[in-house]
Symmetry: C2
Subunit: 257 residues, 2 copies
């Protein structure tokens, strides 16, 4: 069972500061935990119902430091969900080496102040689906290790590198080496017919404010998703994660036909 200190510690990891101090975060869910175990991620603590633990192979347990059989009540205490899953794990944050000099030879995403955890999570999931491997977040984006982000990303975090960066510096460096920056902007050209290239950076802005004035000048290619519905309709934009999916999809379509 989970002792008091462990309960307290796991709950404390719901706070960003504690996560950063300990370089640890929490994942929840049978499927998610299993995926992390199979991916060989370093797991500090695995708290799960005996039924779940019994299904694990020795191979799956090899990267787990501590295994704690837990009851429903134990898991309920530490879960951020109303109904806890059968398994929860405390996981080490990865060291993420990311080569900025390679910006021009791959397709990356830069997120400017995306604040909703569900949006960041679905953008990561969508990026993984469409083969985008690097996401640069501005420092004021929601924390990728926020439980809601992890939940929404559905394990995609194992396949996409997410790095927090001063985007101004990043985009300055991109501009300096001739890397294209595709900015999603209202007054852009249609993404359907635009000359896209699968190298460069796709820049997406904040949920209500869009791309900040500070970063706007770094856009080399303004693209938008044409609104084909009633022009009078009050919706001024697509949600940022939907826009991301449509744009990623369009890059992917061009690449593969």
């Amino acid at each position: 069972m989970l002792n008091k200190n462990m309960v307290k510690f796991i709950i404390s990891l719901q706070k960003k500061r504690t996560r950063e101090e300990n370089k640890l975060y929490v994942i929840e869910g049978d499927k998610l935990v299993r995926e992390f175990l199979m991916a060989g991620v370093q797991v500090m603590t695995l708290a799960a119902k005996p039924e779940f633990l019994n299904t694990l192979s020795t191979l799956q347990k090899q990267f787990v430091k501590e295994i704690i059989p837990a009851s429903y009540e134990d898991l309920k205490k530490v879960s951020t969900l109303k109904t806890p899953h059968n398994a929860l794990a405390v996981v080490a944050m990865p060291e993420i080496p990311m080569n900025i000099s390679g910006l021009g030879s791959t397709l990356s995403v830069a997120l400017d102040c995306v604040q909703d955890p569900g949006n960041l999570g679905t953008i990561i999931r969508s990026a993984a689906w469409f083969g985008i491997k690097n996401i640069f977040c501005s420092e004021d984006c929601v924390d990728v290790y926020n439980p809601k982000v992890i939940q929404a990303s559905m394990g995609a975090i194992l396949n996409v590198k997410v790095l927090y960066k001063d985007l101004k510096e990043l985009l300055k460096a991109a501009a300096g080496s001739g890397v294209r920056v595709f900015g999603a902007a209202m007054e852009g050209d249609s993404v359907y017919t635009y000359n896209l290239e699968n190298n460069g950076v796709i820049l997406l802005g904040n949920e209500s404010k869009g791309i900040s004035d500070e970063l706007y000048p770094f856009i080399t290619d303004r693209i938008m998703i044409p609104k084909t519905g009633n022009p009078e309709a009050g919706i001024e934009s697509l949600n940022v994660s939907m826009a991301a999916s449509v744009i990623f999809s369009e890059f992917s379509r061009r690449r593969t036909g």
Copy 2:
């Protein structure tokens, strides 16, 4: 100010049953309320801060039965949000006439047991963006008047008709009159190259179970969004609202170039 009975009544509308009994639902948010007022929707009660009420024209107030100046504390009592907005309205559910015999001459969406309010809301928003006017929900979909759906749809509900239907009957009728049913299915053909037509029904399934066995046989055209990311990656699907956006976008692209 909001009296006790009114507070109790507005809170009771958070329950689906009470909404249905009274044919009323609640919208929150300055922008959303303003959009509803401008669209000429019948508003039973508008509770808002005096600062907000002062900005309304006589025209905007003409469809409001009762206007109640409310304080922050009043609004906090009845809000489903942590921080209430300046305005909240109790709105009459529209009578939705929908012509099923017209299924073959327009593009509609059918949702099979979509349960997450955020997903339904973003699908409505996306439909409005891409000019899809009709959404048929199976009876076990989340209620469109759920506060979280309304919040996520961002006013798009004013432009999209959402009707609850026995989808088996609907699709049987569609099949009977030669209407195409485009089903989003894993083993489908790439939506990028598939012969799409802007008439018919796009059928999308439940978040984890996909399209139910009962409805599957009615699909005439199986389409899917190719996964171009790492095939080994654990993500088995796109989130249903992302998939919806990508598919709507692809239909829209074909229509407009």
